[in-house]
Structures are given as C-alpha cells and as structure tokens.
C-alpha cells in the first residue's frame, strides 16, 4: 500500500509537450481511474509512474520517496498490460513467479506464493499450462496474478479489459473490485471506457489533451462536472448541450432555453441537460420536438430528437413502454426536476 504523488509532471517528446503539468495525489488504498479519449496522455502518465517512460520535469513520489530515477522494479509497482504480455515460452506458474525469481526468492517460497495468488484468482488448475492454451479471460487472470505475486505497493492497469468480450468484461470488472477490497492496495487504472471508470473508481481523473480536467468521486463528477468536457465525457448517451439562442432564434429554441436556463446568472451561455432528465409529454403541451430515431432497448428507450432551430439532435433516455415513439412522431419536451448544469462562455460550470 502506498501513496503516489505527482507534482508538476511533464513529458516532452522532441518539441511536443505530451503531458503539460500534472498535479495529483493518489491516496493509500485508493482505486484511482484515469479516463479520457485516446491520445489524452493517460497511458503516458501511467507509464511514467511505472518507470517505463522518463519524466521530463516534475516530481513523482511513491510513499514520500522521489522515484523519478528509480528502476521500475525499485518503485514497487506492478503493471497489467492490455495485451496481457505473458511470456509465451513459460508456464503460468513460471510467468507468475518470474519476478520473484528475478528477486532471488527460493523455488519453494516461490511456488508457495504463486499458489496463494493462484488461489485468490481461482486459477490453481491452470498453473502447468502455457499461455497459448488459455482463453482470453484466463490469460487476463494470469496477468493479474503475476502482478499480485510481487505484493507491489501500487498496481497499475493499462486498459486491461479492452481485449475481452462484453460479458467477460463485466465479470472481470466485478472481480477487480473484489480484489481491490480484498488486497486493500493502491490501484491506478487507465481506461477509455466511462462505464469502467464510473463503476470501479473510488475517484476518477478525467484527462484531456495532456492535462487533468477534473478529479473527484464518480457521482460528483457526473452531477457536478467542472466543465463541458467532463460533462460530455461521462454519461451515455452524451449530455445534451443547448446553446443560448440568437435574438432571431426559432420560437422552439427560445422556449427551450427559457425552460432550461430560466433564473440562472447571465453569464450562462450554454446548458447541459442529461438525457435521463428529459421528459416526454404530449405534443401540444411541452417544447415541440420530432423523433428522428428511436432505439428501444427493452428496459429503456433512447430517442434522438430534433427541436427546430437547435443544430444538434437532443438525446432522451425514457422508460420503455413507448412503442408509439417512432421516427417522425411529434412530441413535447419538459424537464425533470432542477438538474440542468449551466456553463459560461469558456465552458466552465457556473453554479
């Protein structure tokens, strides 16, 4: 268990600033998720913590000790790779015991520790097999097992579930949460999947363009995003961003703006409206809108709606049971509770 502190961390490749100064405190035993679109620098940051990339500037502290120049193994970090990176020519047991062997642990002690880790992950029956004989899910377990065996101070996960199919991914997600509770270890987890971020993290750091946009608990980020980027990144379907209408805007657009932004400070020029807060009412009562596309998922239905004068389609997530909501149908919209988020002209939240 360890505390990881990043202060003023930068990374430069040639003349390109990839990471533009990151300050972040990861607490002992925390499950921290780095989330963001591809190329935002989340993996690079993780690799700098691991010691696989040099840190151009700034300080990396692990348990209060400056680790910038330490070799990966001396940082006490273990990493699980997206590709699993199992040694193909070694059995599962040898894969898991490799780090211990490098550390000079005796064969007997090694096999005891590997055995314990294998039990935790329920892969004891696989120990004599080779990676090529395992399924994707089993390989993933072995990769995690290899990390556990070392008893690291901090676990690093680089998109570990992205090569698994959907059902297995849900299982492994639960499994990883269980593991975190069981080991109580500090974990840093990189993903571009916001569902993983929301469900697994004690806290989430949302990355964008080489910096952190916001850090906080999943629901805090969802309910009170610091800016439009965070608001748009978390939540599926995406949050609706409605801009203030021009003076000559359509009646429907102006009515929508009044509905959403009424009583907010003047500097609010755009509002965020979560799809689940959109209420569908009879055509002649609310803001007039037309269904462009409807996805009936069984439990809920996702509607793509056009409001005259609003450039982007609005998303609405409504309870199932509206089979009449087909493309072309005209409906009315109203808001569910006071859940609209206001943004100023820089995209920052106005509370």
């Amino acid at each position: 268990m360890a505390q990881v502190t990043l202060s003023g961390i930068r990374k430069r490749y040639g003349s390109v600033d990839v990471i533009k100064g990151i300050d972040l405190q990861i607490h002992e035993g925390e499950f921290m998720v780095f989330v963001g679109p591809s190329g935002c620098g989340k993996s690079t940051t993780l690799r700098m913590i691991a010691g696989l990339e040099d840190i151009t500037a700034g300080d990396l502290l692990i348990d209060g000790v400056r680790a910038n120049q330490l070799r990966p193994v001396d940082r006490g970090a273990a990493m699980v790779f997206q590709s699993y990176a199992l040694y193909p020519h070694m059995t599962v047991a040898d894969n898991m015991g490799f780090a211990l062997r490098m550390a000079g642990v005796t064969a007997a002690e090694r096999s005891a520790q590997v055995g314990r880790a294998a039990e935790t992950l329920r892969i004891s029956h696989l120990l004599e097999r080779y990676p090529r004989e395992l399924s994707g899910g089993e390989r993933q377990r072995v990769a995690i097992g290899r990390a556990i065996v070392r008893k690291p101070k901090v676990f690093l996960f680089d998109e570990p579930l992205s090569n698994l199919d959907a059902a297995l991914r849900v299982n492994m997600r639960i499994e990883l949460c269980r593991l975190h509770a069981e080991l109580g270890a500090t974990m840093i987890y990189v993903t571009h999947d916001q569902v993983e971020a929301m469900t697994m993290g004690s806290r989430i750091a949302v990355f964008n363009a080489g910096g952190i946009e916001q850090v906080g608990a999943p629901l805090a980020l969802y309910d009170r995003p610091a800016n439009e980027f965070v608001a748009a990144f978390l939540g599926a379907p995406r949050i609706n961003l409605v801009s203030q209408p021009q003076a000559d805007g359509s009646a429907a657009h102006r009515a929508l703006w009044t509905l959403l932004a009424d009583g907010r400070p003047d500097r609010v020029v755009r509002v965020g409206w979560r799809p689940e807060h959109v209420r569908v009412v009879a055509a002649d009562t609310g803001i007039p809108a037309q269904v462009v596309l409807a996805e009936h998922l069984g439990d809920t239905s996702i509607l793509y709606l056009r409001v005259e004068g609003v450039t982007e389609l609005l998303h609405a997530k409504v309870a199932a049971g509206g089979p009449h909501l087909q493309p072309g149908v005209r409906i009315g919209l109203s808001a569910r509770g006071d859940t609209v988020i206001g943004f100023d002209q820089h995209g920052c939240q106005v509370s």
Binding site: A50, G51, L52, R71, P72, V73, A77, A78, M79, F81, Q82, S83, A85, L86, Y87, P88, H89, F98, A99, M102, A103, R146, R150
Partner: protein, 274 residues
C-alpha cells in the same frame, strides 16, 4: 481415364525426370566413391556400387590429414554458427526494439554491405588477417563472418513480429536486467529464426572454399573443401578418393538437413505471411 488423371500423370513424370536429373550427380558421387580410378574411366562407367571404398579412403588418408581437415571444418562451422547466432540476434534485437541515435543510418550501412560482392573482400580480408597475424588460424575464418548483414536483417524482422514491446516492458517491470531480458525472454522466442540461421550459417561455413583458400597456408590447417581440392592435379587425379572424401563431407549436412528441413522452410517463410 479422365483428362485430369492424364495431366496429373504427366506432371508426375516431369517432376520425376527433374528429380532424377538433379539427383544423378549426387548418386554418382556415392557410386564412384566405391570404385578405383581405373574403373571410373571404363566405358560404360559403373552405374552400381563397387568394392573399393576402403581403398579410396586409404588413399585419401595417405594424401592428406583427412580426419584433421574434417575436424577443422567442424570446428570452424560450429564456432561460426554459435557466434553468428549470438551477434545477429543481439544486433537484430537492438535494431528492432531499441531507439538510439543514428539507428536508421547504421541499419542502412549494415544492409549496404549486402551490396558489396564478396569477391571484392578477398584482398582486404587477406591484408587484415595478415596484419593481425591470423593467417593459418581458424579464427580468421569464423571471426570475420560472426555478424552477417543477412543474419541481422533476418533477426530484426523476426523480433519485430515475435517479440512484442509489452513483453520486454513486462520483464523490465518484473525486475529483469536488460541482458536478462535478452537471454531469458528474447532468445527463447527467437528459436525458429535461430534454427534457420544456424542451418544457413553452418552450411555456408561447411562449404566455404574461398575463405580458407585466402587465409589458410598449411595443408594440416585446411578445411575439407580446400583439402579435397588438393587431390586434383593435371595428371592422375584420384577421382575415387576425391569422391569418397566428398561423400564423407556431405554426410553431416545430409543428417542436418533431414533433421531440420521442416524448420528451415518454416523459418524462411515466417513473417512472409500472417
């Protein structure tokens, strides 16, 4: 009988004829190895095995230190192979997986040496070996070829497909030293390519005639191809003994090839498809 059967029989006949033509010299080498010189020049020449093999071997041994020459051939071929495997795999690994200054230019330079005809190297090689005082020493044969451009290229291509970057980083995270990564992770994964390169290198060294011709002076330091050449003379070449020597020289390669032809072919095509 359908058309396809006829054309298939035709194809078999052609392949069989081609095979016969290619195998004939090989067959006659073994046949002549069992006949005395006078028998070989009879008309028609002998087509079946005779009884003079012991006599031919006796001539061979009396004319040259045959077993010693065979030993040197084996010694040089083994050393060349081991050194080539070591240095080519290291070089190929470095070019495939490390970033360093002038990497592209260095690789271009290595590849460029493939363009130089090997005969152009004869005189410089002799001068260098002479300057080093290595004339008549086996190391003059196995050291210059210890890292071949072809081998480095083959290894680089193979590393690029068979050794993912993640594996190397995983080993680094596991506390493996850089040399440890090479020996414990990279080398085992290169096995198929190493087998191919070993075979190619061994055969090339075993058959090498020009190399020893340049750097070896005393007959007791000759490798087999050179030693056998010394049996030839304008008058009275001992063809029976020469054929016996050639046949013995071929045997190790035959064994090697039978054991590893599948490996050789799979190694050469790895990376070509997939």
């Amino acid at each position: 009988m359908g058309d396809t059967t006829v054309s298939r029989l035709g194809a078999y006949a052609m392949v069989a004829a081609g095979g016969l033509i290619m195998l004939a010299p090989f067959y006659f080498m073994f046949v002549f190895a069992t006949h005395a010189r006078t028998d070989i020049f009879r008309l028609p020449p002998p087509l079946l095995f005779g009884h003079d093999l012991p006599g031919n071997v006796a001539i061979l041994i009396s004319r040259m230190p045959f077993w010693r020459n065979l030993g040197w051939s084996l010694y040089v071929a083994l050393f060349s192979t081991v050194l080539t495997l070591l240095f080519c795999s290291m070089g190929g690994y470095a070019f495939a997986r490390f970033e360093f200054r002038f990497k592209q230019s260095l690789f271009a330079l290595v590849m460029g040496t493939l363009l130089v005809p090997s005969f152009m190297n004869m005189i410089p090689t002799f001068m260098i070996m002479d300057a080093l005082g290595w004339i008549d020493q086996p190391r003059a044969l196995y050291l210059p070829g210890a890292a071949s451009a072809f081998g480095i290229f083959l290894m680089r291509q193979f590393v690029a497909t068979a050794v993912p970057k993640d594996l190397i980083e995983a080993a680094r995270m596991d506390g493996c030293s850089e040399l440890g990564i090479y020996f414990r992770i990279v080398l085992p994964l290169l096995k198929p390519a190493l087998g191919t390169l070993a075979l190619i290198t061994f055969i090339a060294s075993w058959n090498n005639f020009i190399g020893p011709l340049i750097v070896m002076r005393s007959p007791e330091m000759y490798t087999l191809p050179l030693a056998l050449r010394s049996l030839q003379s304008p008058v009275g070449t001992e063809w029976g003994a020469l054929m016996a020597g050639s046949a013995i020289a071929t045997l190790p390669l035959l064994v090697l090839f039978v054991l590893s032809s599948r490996q050789l072919i799979s190694g050469l095509t790895t990376g070509a498809v997939k």
